[in-house]
Symmetry: D2
Subunit: 117 residues, 4 copies
Amino acid sequence: MTTDVAELTARMREFARARDWEQFHTPKNLAMALAGEVGELVAEFQWLTADESRRPAPDELARIRGELADVTLYLVRLADVLGVDLVEAAHDKLDENEQRYAADRYRGSARKAPHQT
Amino acid sequence: MTTDVAELTARMREFARARDWEQFHTPKNLAMALAGEVGELVAEFQWLTADESRRPAPDELARIRGELADVTLYLVRLADVLGVDLVEAAHDKLDENEQRYAADRYRGSARKAPHQT
Amino acid sequence: MTTDVAELTARMREFARARDWEQFHTPKNLAMALAGEVGELVAEFQWLTADESRRPAPDELARIRGELADVTLYLVRLADVLGVDLVEAAHDKLDENEQRYAADRYRGSARKAPHQT
Amino acid sequence: MTTDVAELTARMREFARARDWEQFHTPKNLAMALAGEVGELVAEFQWLTADESRRPAPDELARIRGELADVTLYLVRLADVLGVDLVEAAHDKLDENEQRYAADRYRGSARKAPHQT
């Protein structure tokens, strides 16, 4: 079955191949590219209040959407070159988090759970 | 039709709801959380050579997989609270990039395309 | 004349030399290390309100101070290996910003100035 | 005695005051601004090899110098609004690191020291 993430992965792989960019797409370089894009995303929110960030103006939202896309593309590509199944990894982590942050103990609290031993 | 990203989105939404964490999940805060996780991901690669980053040791790869999962979860959650369709946004950006970086002009080159006007 | 930053620079240089770590301290790697530390710093603030961030609890402030130190050390080291005078560069940028953001035009406004041409 | 960092701190404080920007300069917002600038810095190095990053082209170096300046300015400003002495904090951390990474045990090794208990 084809899925969203598998489709994006395949499209990014072909995009890089067609431009002979695999040579640049080491995990190290892609992690940096991802960090650069997340920096641009954070910058969109830096002077907004919490409330303003919930309702960005249309032109802000368009820029944010573009940055979210850039982050997604590099994330998908990084997982691909590492052979990581991003969706499976995310579900596994959510399984862990559901254990680690028991709903009744952490309700309404932003404190961090101690690391599991 | 249910898809990968829609499923993750729904699961994260319920995870936040069950803990009464929607109050913390402003776009501003989630963008910061995403930046924090990407910082941890980048740190995994900081002292590796390009080649080492292609073949991380099993324990490194396990940590990297966990960080990729954290990044994915916050990214999906941030898009959700902003009402952005992440997969559609990514495909739109790839459409743009395919125009902007014509394969024959940018083959083997890491230089940045000028911004479209 | 010896200054704050020159002293830190010299101490970091000797710290790296004594451990034979110059081989790891390429600008690329140090930029990543800096990004990793800034990620940890941002994470300290991610769930705080604007007001809470102004008055962190003593244990939070101690952690934040440690992260600020890590960021400073990598920043100083990165500038050193690139041969950049950090203090001079910062003053030059402030000169620019004073021009770019005329006090009377940008008073009380968080909007970004257009880039100079 | 006036020092480099104290001078930059005073100049940034006045820059913000003259524009009535103190309202935007919460620690939370400044940490985000710092992360945004570090993202731009990392992006300068993302496609460079280790060797290329040691000898950036003149126009690259000029851009990198500008990004280092931006990072420095926000770092100095963030420390100021938190009342942290950046230089003292950095020396304290270097004291710790000299203990934690004994030169004879960590010579030539990029592995991380276990956290002190």
